[in-house]
Symmetry: C2
Subunit: 221 residues, 2 copies
C-alpha cells in the first residue's frame, strides 16, 4: 500500500499481490502462481516466505485489521456524499475495501473480526451522537448496535446489486450516494411505519408467539 509496488521488498510485494487478488477473486480462486506472477517472483518464493497459502491469508488478515486500526475512518464510511472524494484522495483504500467485502462474503475468521470491529466502531459513534442529543436510543442498546452494524456491512456485501438498482455501478456513484443518503436519513429519522404498526407487533409479542399471524407485521419487509 505504500507508494510504488516495485519499490517494495519481495515479501511485501507478495503480501500486496495476495491482498489484491484475494479481495478481487476470493481465496479459493486465487492461486499461488497468480500471486507470484503479480508480485514478479517465483511461486516457490511465496511458500518460502509465508509457509503456505493459508498462512499467507492469515498475514493478509492481520495486515488489513492493523490497517483498519490506524485508519479508523474507513470503517465509518457508508455510501454518503463524501465517500467518493474520500476514496479518490486515498486510492490505496480500494484493495482494502475489496478485501473486506470479499472476506465478509467468504466467512471464516476474518468475517468475525471485521464484524466485531464494526460493532465496536458503531457503538462509539452511537455514544458520540447520543452525547450530542442527536439520537433517542432504543431500550436495547446492544441489539441496536448489532442491527446497525449488520445493516451497514450487509449493504456493503450487496453493494453491487444495490448500486445497480439505483442506476449506478458502484456504491460510491453520485446517484447511488445521493438517493441512498436521503432515504436512509428519512427512514432513520422519521421511521417508516406508523405507530399503529409498532403497537400490533408489541401486542403479538406479549401474546402467544408463533401462531403465524404476526409474520406480515414484521417491519423489516
Amino acid at each position: 500500500m505504500s507508494s510504488n509496488p516495485a519499490d517494495l521488498l519481495p515479501q511485501a510485494r507478495i503480501r500486496l499481490a495476495a491482498l489484491e487478488l484475494f479481495g478481487a477473486q476470493g481465496f479459493e480462486k486465487t492461486t499461488i502462481r497468480q500471486i507470484a506472477a503479480r508480485a514478479g517472483v517465483s511461486p516457490g518464493l511465496v511458500i518460502h516466505h509465508f509457509g503456505s497459502k493459508n498462512r499467507l491469508r492469515e498475514h493478509c488478515d492481520d495486515w488489513v485489521m492493523e490497517f483498519l486500526e490506524q485508519e479508523k475512518t474507513l470503517l465509518t464510511l457508508g455510501p454518503q456524499p463524501g465517500l467518493r472524494d474520500y476514496l479518490a484522495e486515498h486510492p490505496e483504500y480500494e484493495p482494502v475495501i475489496a478485501y473486506l467485502t470479499t472476506g465478509l462474503r467468504e466467512g471464516g475468521a476474518i468475517a468475525d473480526r471485521i464484524y466485531n470491529r464494526t460493532v465496536t466502531m458503531t457503538a462509539s459513534l452511537l455514544d458520540l451522537a447520543e452525547a450530542q442529543g442527536l439520537v433517542h436510543m432504543p431500550q436495547d442498546r446492544e441489539a441496536t448496535v448489532a442491527f446497525l452494524a449488520a445493516s451497514s456491512l450487509g449493504l456493503l456485501m450487496l453493494s453491487e446489486q444495490f448500486a445497480r438498482q439505483l442506476g449506478g455501478q458502484q456504491l460510491d456513484d453520485p446517484d447511488v450516494v445521493e438517493r441512498y443518503g436521503l432515504v436512509a436519513a428519512e427512514v432513520f429519522t422519521h421511521g417508516l411505519f406508523t405507530p399503529a404498526y409498532l403497537e400490533t407487533l408489541q401486542a403479538a409479542n406479549t401474546t402467544t408467539p408463533g401462531d403465524g399471524n404476526e409474520r406480515p407485521r414484521n417491519p423489516d419487509h
Copy 2:
C-alpha cells in the same frame, strides 16, 4: 425436498445432494465425488445426468427459484417471532435457506436473481402496508425498496455473527428473534435520530458535497 430422499429417483437425489452441499459448503469446496456419495450414486452418473458441475449448479439455481415462486412466504421471513415455528413446521426449507445465503455470499447469477426477487416481494409488501395506512412512504420509493431489500438480505448473510452477538447461534433463536424484532420495530417506527440530524444532512446535500464534513452525519453509522 419431497419426503424421504431414498424414495427419489437418482437424478432427483443428485440434485438434492448438490443443493444441500452447495448451500452448506459453497460451490467451489463441493466436489462431484461428495455429491455422488451423498446421493448414493457414482461420480460418473452425476456427469451423465447434468453434463458438468456448472450445469448442475444451474439446475439447482432454477429449482430454488421455482421453489421460491411457489412458497412466496419464504422470502418475506425475517427474524420475527413466527420464524422458528414456521421453520419447525417446514424442515425442508432449511437447505433452501442455506442455499440462498451461500448463493448471495458467493455472488454470480443466483445472487442477482435472489436480490431481484426480494426487491419485487418487498415492493408489493410495502404497497400493501401503504394501502392500509401503516406506512408513510419516503419520496424515493425505489430507493426505499432497495434499502429494505439490501438490509434484510444483508442481515441474512451476516446472521451468524449477528445472532452470536445477541446471545444465540441462529437467526431463529428465541432471544435473537425477540431482541431484533423489538429494536427493528422501534427504529422503523420512531426512527433513531432526532430531526436535527436530518436537517444537517439535507443542508450538506444542498451545499457543495464532498468537502468531507458531512461524513460523520451519515445516519447509518
